[in-house]
Subunit: 385 residues, 2 copies
């Protein structure tokens, strides 16, 4: 194997573009200096476009999970009931955090690989009108589902005043996100997915309606108190020491998104998804999810006649290609190809061609090039550049 | 197109491995400090393996062409006759440098795309016994030929005392090079090809026999005087300020070659060549060279029914894939795929799959995936890891 080559196709952390890597190598600056304020100003404006909001986007030096926890401890008053819609491991994480805070949590569980059905949520809320917040996962990373958040928000608003709180970690920046227009109250993402920056930043946008609820919340919290982030951000500073090098990276990655054009970025992710799915179908390997709710950022594959764990091991050892395994009860049953962030059609073709070699290497009989050709046909059929 | 993506498949400069990039980012050191001597010690030992020699390998802060010039101005005494074997643009460069120094130069020209025939050289030397040095090109980058240097050296030695001087720029480090065993007197390479370092270092190894000739050479030279490099190298230093960051990079790239194993590195290049050629043949596009003398580091392709210039432009603009054009009279007639240095089978598959898309985009009718499958079959047929 070629020494020193890593082909990273997991659903985050994702590869870092060279210019982002360079940006992060800049000399350290003082976190209370003018330069940091300038960074926050540029980043703040660009994040608003990505989130589709007029609100400030809080930046916390933390992993995405801290962002999910921040949403909960800020938005849920002591004694309030909440509903969590669970479509996979990251929906379950919301439940676990709520349980850690002894929050009265209702759960609707969906079969892993299936998406939220907004009308069911509506019906549930009508029967349980004490629910003050509904938590959902935009892209469920563990299954590769993109939940219908726009429809969900609208369905919730029709029957309830509950806050709409969304985990957008593995898709914001890769799929269209219209927080204000869709009526999302809190949406969280992390730096290490479609935003093409190493892990270490949790990004959280909050609606005016949610701010009112948060400001009166007596729940104990300190580092994750969103009001302190907002109040400092309005003065172009941060309550605690920010992760400067990651901010440098984020500024550059947002610049790359802007240069490509957000719509073009979303179109690219959609194309990468369709190329990947067409290839896997042509190779006659079952996909975990159906086309209707497939995520543009990650594809989960559930082989029925070979061992996913051995297959992943071979791809890594022989070709340096990292794809992800499953989580929870699917941990050894599926493998997942990430195609978000710094990923091009050429990268998907490489991944598919190597997957084909890997299949032959583990003894599967396939027609070589058939998956690659299917992906190529998708590319050619739509002429996106 | 994905912003900030460059897929560099030209025959040098080649992509820089991440660990080499990191090595070059180390803080500057004093060029007369102990650290620089330590660098030169490690590099010196590793270069000897790559060149296949017991001799010191001089390192000049300069492009490869300066290395070719150094060979000429050091080895050719005023008034001596030399023979240059020209198989392409880099053979011609030897001629041009000789002409600049008013050296009496004999030339055997081969059709571009064809290799040197040692027996013809032997016959020429027998008829022209005043020739004191024979210049040849190991890999002729402009055509993708690997000349039979081992056979050439042996053929020359049978009939002449002439020095055997070889331009190894686009292959040393990627193909087996046995300077001492084959009887090469001077061999030159550059840092930016199979050695996976940015351009800026010319590397020159010289045989004992050649040193004798060089030491008595009265020709004017200063920066390129090889004896000063050798004498300083024996004291683990350099006559002039060395390119420290490139030395850091070279140390790490030589370490990578050692870790992979030199034979494995050569096998990999051979595999990449065979994958590339099989793919292009399957796509029914003429190769410039035949299999017998094809270079493991670069493949030249001469399309007969589409425009190579337009095709390259499309690959670059739509996919960020850089392949090279031709040189000299072939400049707009061929395109060349580099597969040397930091290049894996997965990288060749990516290149081929993108070439297939490019062919469709310029209106060629091909069976999608057919080139990819041909390359995959080569990979599978030999099981190299």
């Amino acid at each position: 194997m070629l020494a020193d080559q890593q082909i990273l196709r997991i659903p985050g952390p994702t590869p870092i573009p060279p210019s982002v890597q360079r940006a992060m190598s800049q000399p350290m600056i003082g976190h209370r200096d003018e330069e940091t304020s300038a960074l926050l100003r540029v980043i703040g404006a660009d994040l608003k476009s990505v989130f589709g909001t007029e609100q400030e986007v809080a930046i916390i030096a933390a992993s995405g999970t801290a962002g999910l926890e921040a949403a909960i401890v800020n938005a849920v008053h002591p004694g309030e009931e909440v509903l969590v819609l669970v479509t996979g491991a990251f929906g379950q994480r919301f439940v676990k955090i709520c349980e850690a805070y002894d929050i009265h949590v209702h759960v609707i569980n969906y079969e892993w690989g299936k998406a939220i059905v907004p009308s069911e949520v509506q019906a549930y809320l009508q029967k349980n009108n004490a629910i003050k917040a509904v938590f959902s996962t935009f892209c469920e990373t563990s299954t590769g589902i993109l939940n219908p958040i726009k429809e969900l928000s609208s369905a919730i608003a029709q029957v309830s005043e509950a806050l709409v709180i969304v985990d957008g970690v593995s898709c914001v920046g890769g799929v269209e996100t219209k927080m204000d227009e869709w009526g999302i109250d809190i949406i969280v993402t992390g730096s290490q997915k479609a935003l093409m920056v190493p892990a270490g930043l949790a990004l959280i946008a909050t609606s005016k309606r949610a701010w009112k609820h948060i400001e009166t919340n007596k729940r104990s919290r300190y580092y994750l108190d969103l009001t302190t982030y907002r109040d400092n951000l309005l003065k172009l500073t941060t309550p605690y020491t920010p992760a400067i090098s990651l901010l440098y990276g984020l500024k550059q990655s947002l610049q790359l998104l802007k240069e490509e054009g957000l719509q073009q970025v979303y179109d690219r992710h959609d194309l990468l998804m369709r190329m990947t799915r067409a290839a896997i179908k042509a190779l006659d390997i079952p996909l975990l999810t159906n086309d209707d709710y497939a995520s543009p950022t990650i594809t989960a594959i559930q082989p029925d006649d070979f061992d996913a764990v051995e297959f992943r091991k071979l791809l890594k050892n022989e070709f340096g290609l990292s794809v992800a395994g499953g989580q929870g009860h699917l941990s050894d049953k599926i493998f997942r190809i990430g195609h978000m962030g710094y990923c091009s059609p050429a990268d998907v073709l490489q991944t598919i061609a190597v997957v084909e070699l890997g299949l032959m290497k583990i003894g599967e009989t396939i027609e070589l090039g058939i998956g690659t050709a299917a992906a190529q046909r998708i590319y050619l059929s739509q002429g996106v550049r």
